[in-house]
Subunit: 332 residues, 2 copies
C-alpha cells in the first residue's frame, strides 16, 4: 500500500490488449511506470477467459508496484478492432477469436470495481506517443504502425479523432496501388497488402517458389505468417540477404508513397512510425522511406517541418496511451 | 445605398479568384446573394492588372446590389494555390501566371479600404458547401473537386483544417496507383493523373492515336487540355460515345477507390463532389463512384451513414465560402 494518498490518487492502470499478449502497468501522471505485468491472451479459450486474464494481469501489475485496486483511479485499455469508446464495446476483433460487440468495459468494471475506459489499440498507441513519446509538443500527428497488418492513429489539434463511425485511422486500407495484390480485407492494393509483415512474407514466399535464394528459406517453408518473426526478418535484412533487401526496398518505396499521400492530405507536423516490423528493423530502415516521402510532397516548401520519426515508446506506447485515455476521460 | 443599417452591417463580399475568371458577390449572413459580377482574370497581364480587375469586379457586384463599399464589412477571397491565411499571401499559384508570395490581402486592402480575408479556393468552396450547401448539419466533411486538376478541402469538427504548412487538403496528389501515369506535379499515379480533365483528355488522345473512334476526335485534335470543355465531354458521355464511356468508367473506378481511402482514413460523415467535370456530368455520374467507394470501406457497418453527394452550390460555392471565411474572421 502506498503512503502518499495525494500522489496515489493520480495513478491509473494502462492495459494493452493484443491478440497474443496482455500488458498492464501502473502509471503516474507524468508517465512513469511503477509496476507492470504481462500474460498470454489465449483468445481461443473464450471471452470470459480473456476477461479473467486481463483482471489477473491488472492485479499483478498493481502487486508488482505494491499497490491495490483502491490505489488507482481508473483503468484505460487499448483493444484491437473498431471500438465504440462511448459504450466501451469492442465492435469487431478478428484477432480476439472473432469478438463481436463485446461489452468489455462493463465486464471489467463488474470485476475490478473501477472506472474502465476503452479505445482502439492503435489510437491509444498514437496517443501514447503524442503525450509521452515522439509526438510531444506537436499538434497534428499521424501514427503509422507496421506489424502483421498496418494500422494508424490520427491526432488533429491535439485531439484523437475517431470519426463519425469510430472507424477513423484505418490507414492500412488506404489504396496505394489500385487493382494491386489482394489484401486480407478483401480489397486490392491497400498499403497493408504491400507493406505489412503478411505482405512481406507473401512476397518472399513467391520469390522462393520461383527459385530465388534467401537465408530465410527454411523459416518461410510452410505455416502461416507467424512462421517468420519480425526479428528474423530484421536479421536477414541487416545481414544484407539480397532477396530480403530487395523485398524490403519495395516496402520502403510504398511506405514512402503512402506517407506522402497522408501528408498531402493532412499536412501534419509529425508522422510516427512504429509497430513490430519497424521496431525490429530500426532507425536504419527509415532514410529511404523519408526520401521517397519528401520527394512526393506536393508542397516542397518547409518540407523539413514535417518530421517522419520512429516511435520512442516501442512496446510501451500501448500501456502509456491507455493510461492517457483513462486520464482524459477522468478529467472531462 | 441601403436603408436598413443593421442589416447592411452584416453584408460581406465574397470573391472567387480563378485562373480564367473572377466572380464577386454581395452576400447576407444567411447566404443570400444580393448582387454579383464577373470578369476575366487575364493573369498574363500581370499582378497589378489582376488586382485592378478584382477591385472592379467587387465594385460591380456592389453596384448591381445598389450598394457601396461602406455598406459591407469585409471582403473574403478564395484564391488558387497554397495560401497563408494569416498574412493573406498567395504563396504559389501556377494558374495565376506563376504568382509567388503575392501579398494579395494587403494590396486589395490598400485599394478597397476594407478588411480582406484570404484562403485557398478549394478550402473556401468546401466551407461554402459546409455552411450553405450539401454539408449543412455535418461535422466532418471532405470536399473533392474534379476539374482541370483535382482539389480538396477538409473540415473536421466543424473547422476548416489548413495543416501545419497551410498545405492540407491536397487530395489531388494522394497516390492511388503507385508508379502509374505521370502527374502535372512531377510524381506518378496521383488521383489527379487518373481522374482530372487533364488526365481524361490525355487518355482520350492516346486512344484516338491508337485508332479508336470517338465523337470527340475533332475536339481533341491539337491544342491543350482546354480544347475539350467539360460540357463537350459530358455531351459525348450522355450520347453514349463508347470510348468516352470507357475512359470515364475508369475515372469513376479511381474516384471510388480514392474516396474509400479518404473514408478509411478520416471516417467523415460526408464527401461532397464538385468541380467542373462533376458539375457537367451531373448526378448520373455518381452511382458507380458510390458503388466502388462503399465496396472498399474497411468498416462496412453503418456504411450508409457516410454520404457521397453532389455539390449543391455549383459555381457559387466559391463566392459563398469566401463570404463565410470573411465572416469567420470578423467574428473571431
Amino acid at each position: 500500500m502506498a503512503k502518499d494518498n495525494e500522489k496515489t490518487n493520480e495513478l491509473v492502470v494502462g492495459v494493452d490488449l493484443g491478440g497474443t499478449k496482455i500488458l498492464a502497468a501502473v502509471i503516474t501522471a507524468d508517465g512513469k511506470i511503477l509496476g507492470q505485468a504481462k500474460r498470454k491472451t489465449k483468445p481461443e479459450a473464450g471471452t470470459e477467459s480473456v476477461i479473467d486474464r486481463i483482471v489477473k494481469t491488472v492485479d499483478d501489475a498493481l502487486g508488482s508496484a505494491k499497490l491495490t485496486r483502491s490505489d488507482v483511479r481508473a483503468v484505460g485499455i487499448g483493444a484491437p478492432g473498431p471500438i465504440d469508446p462511448d459504450t466501451g464495446t469492442v465492435l469487431m476483433a478478428p484477432n480476439l477469436n472473432g469478438w463481436e460487440n463485446v461489452a468489455l468495459a462493463k465486464m471489467l468494471r463488474d470485476q475490478l470495481d473501477l472506472p474502465i475506459f476503452l479505445d482502439n489499440d492503435v489510437n491509444v498507441g498514437t496517443l501514447g506517443e503524442y503525450v509521452y513519446g515522439a509526438g510531444r509538443g506537436a499538434s497534428d500527428v499521424i501514427g503509422v504502425f507496421v506489424g502483421t497488418g498496418v494500422g494508424g492513429g490520427l491526432i488533429i489539434g491535439g485531439q484523437l479523432r475517431s470519426g463519425a463511425r469510430h472507424a477513423a485511422g484505418e490507414i492500412g486500407h488506404m489504396i496505394v496501388l489500385a487493382d494491386g495484390p489482394f489484401c486480407g480485407c478483401g480489397n486490392r492494393g491497400c498499403i497493408e497488402a504491400l507493406a505489412s509483415r503478411t505482405a512481406i512474407v507473401q512476397s518472399l514466399r513467391m520469390a522462393v517458389l520461383s527459385g530465388r535464394k534467401t537465408v530465410l528459406a527454411d523459416a518461410l517453408a510452410g505455416g502461416g505468417v507467424e512462421r517468420l518473426s519480425s526479428g528474423a526478418l530484421a536479421q536477414a535484412w541487416k545481414a544484407n540477404d539480397t532477396l530480403t533487401v530487395e523485398v524490403l526496398s519495395r516496402v520502403q518505396h510504398y511506405l514512402g508513397l503512402h506517407i506522402a499521400s497522408l501528408v498531402n492530405f493532412m499536412d501534419p507536423e509529425l508522422i510516427v512510425l512504429g509497430g513490430g516490423v519497424i521496431e525490429a528493423l530500426g532507425e536504419d530502415f527509415l532514410p529511404p522511406i523519408r526520401r521517397v516521402a519528401y520527394q512526393h510532397f506536393t508542397q516542397r516548401r518547409d518540407a523539413n517541418r514535417v518530421k517522419i520519426v520512429m516511435s520512442q515508446l516501442g512496446d510501451n506506447a500501448g500501456i502509456l496511451g491507455a493510461a492517457v485515455t483513462a486520464r482524459f476521460h477522468l478529467n472531462s
